[in-house]
């Protein structure tokens, strides 16, 4: 009975000290979600850690703004509802800023302006018009700007939608999909350089936000609309990284350019 009692006492001690720590740690740890199916921006490495451009950027922003951040992997479909519901404090996942999203979310300053491209078998030619892509299979991740764009622009194409950013590449490699649309940097750095990407290449126009409203203004960190304070701190952090060259260094590290 005695050792058990002692154990109970120890447990109480730990519990009570944990309770005391709570108010002492004044700074709340922010939960930041990313959909880690989108290398090189966000993915899971072999040890199970979230890594990538966005993850490093977010960590640097948090350090610069003196925020405590915990970046976690979350399913794409639950991210925006989760942010609105307050499960997450912010999202960093190459989220494009669009009018529809501005209505429900707050965004930090834009940190990148991606280019959107198609990828297909090398040598294949397509005419990127509604008639030209009629009946062609295009794979996209559901709910992304690419999904919105192909759905509106190529209604006669056979559009296949996936919940992750990586599944379309499997479909491209297997031949189930002829075309896939994504961020140019993602296609180049995560797919074309890999073993599976041999024999594939970029094609079609280089789309940006200027070509279609679906592509948005650029990518930014999404924050709950009510959390004006956090938008401010994140923007301060971003500004610091721009000033001290850390953002340029990160771009150079991942993409060899700035």
């Amino acid at each position: 009975m005695k050792p058990l009692f002692r154990l109970f006492g120890a447990a109480m001690l730990i519990a009570s000290s944990a309770l005391q720590i709570q108010p002492a740690a004044a700074q709340k740890v922010l939960t930041i979600a990313t959909d880690a199916t989108f290398p090189p921006f966000e993915s899971i490495d072999s040890s199970g850690k979230v890594v990538g451009y966005d993850v490093e950027l977010m960590q640097a922003v948090c350090d610069a703004a003196k925020l405590k951040c915990n970046i976690i992997n979350a399913a794409w479909e639950g991210m925006i509802p989760g942010l609105i519901a307050g499960k997450y404090d912010a999202l960093i996942s190459q989220l494009t800023v669009t009018e529809a999203r501005r209505k429900i979310l707050a965004f930090s300053d834009i940190y990148d302006r991606p280019v959107f491209r198609f990828v297909a078998k090398q040598g294949a030619t397509y005419e990127f018009t509604p008639e030209g892509l009629k009946g062609k299979t295009i794979a996209v991740q559901t709910g992304t700007p690419m999904d919105a764009f192909v759905t509106k622009t190529f209604p006669q194409a056979d559009i296949k939608r996936y919940t992750s950013g990586s599944a379309p590449y499997l479909e491209l490699a297997s031949g189930r999909a002829e075309l896939h649309m994504s961020y140019e940097a993602q296609i180049t750095h995560a797919f074309l350089k890999s073993e599976d990407g041999k024999g594939f290449g970029l094609l079609g126009p280089r789309y940006t936000g200027k070509d279609a409203p679906e592509f948005g203004e650029g990518v930014a960190i999404a924050i709950n609309k009510r959390n004006v304070e956090l938008v401010k701190s994140v923007n301060e952090g971003l500004a610091k990284l721009r000033e001290n060259g850390a953002l340029a260094a990160l771009n150079a590290k991942y993409f060899g350019t700035n």
Binding site: P81, R101, S174
Partner: protein, 226 residues
């Protein structure tokens, strides 16, 4: 709460429900036919017949359905040899892959359910049938199959409900059944509660229909036998 989006999407849900019913009914119908035969052979005294069936049901009951679906849909597609084979037009279709997986999975469970029902059959019944001079085919048709089905009807009813709910996995390989429709609304309209509650309500209605059907079947075939 934003129910107008749901109201606008009701035609999509109707299409999704059609696909859910199609997948459930086809998987169960094919699985039922296969299981009848496999369950009889599962209890065969010949180990060369019995053991392969036992290993098949072990593998398909011992692994998650989602893993099986991914292996068949994404996994098989990685083999170049298969992609050039005559099977590829079939295996490249998500509908075919999903149905194949569901049939293999539900057949494994149903075979074991039916075979289990048969194991408790008093040996006297079969001996009596033999004494009457019935052929093995007649014994199967008149004694074994009716006994097997009436004994396992409740368990089999559960399996059909599980199968219907498992069709939600089809949405992971682009098929827009009920769950797929809900997920698409979530991803394009950023609401989660409303689309999934709607999906749950539809599944519940479909489950009621299944439960009702099995209730009637039990009254008709099981209670009557006493």
């Amino acid at each position: 709460m934003n129910w107008t989006i749901i109201a606008d999407s009701l035609p999509l849900y109707a299409q999704g429900a059609r696909l859910t019913v199609l997948l459930t009914v086809s998987a169960l119908a094919i699985g039922f036919g296969l299981s009848l035969g496999l369950a009889l052979l599962r209890n065969s005294p010949n180990p060369w017949i019995r053991l392969p069936i036992a290993s098949y049901t072990l593998v398909f009951r011992g692994t998650p359905l989602l893993v099986q679906l991914f292996l068949i849909y994404f996994g098989l597609a990685q083999f170049g040899l298969l992609r050039q084979s005559i099977l590829w037009p079939w295996l490249s279709s998500p509908l075919f892959c999903v149905l194949l997986t569901f049939v293999l999975n539900t057949t494994a469970y149903t075979t074991e359910i039916f075979a289990g029902g048969l194991r408790h059959l008093p040996p006297g019944e079969i001996e009596a049938a033999r004494a009457y001079g019935m052929s093995p085919w007649t014994i199967a048709r008149r004694i074994l199959i009716p006994a097997m089905l009436s004994r396992s009807l409740t368990l089999y009813g559960n399996e059909t409900i599980m199968m219907m709910h498992a069709t939600s996995l089809a949405s992971t390989v682009t098929l827009l059944e009920i769950t797929g429709v809900a997920r698409n609304i979530t991803l394009t309209s950023y609401i989660l509660f409303e689309p999934y509650v709607t999906a749950a309500a539809i599944y519940l209605c479909l489950t009621f229909i299944l439960v009702g059907a099995f209730h009637m079947a039990e009254r008709r075939w099981v209670d009557a036998r006493g």
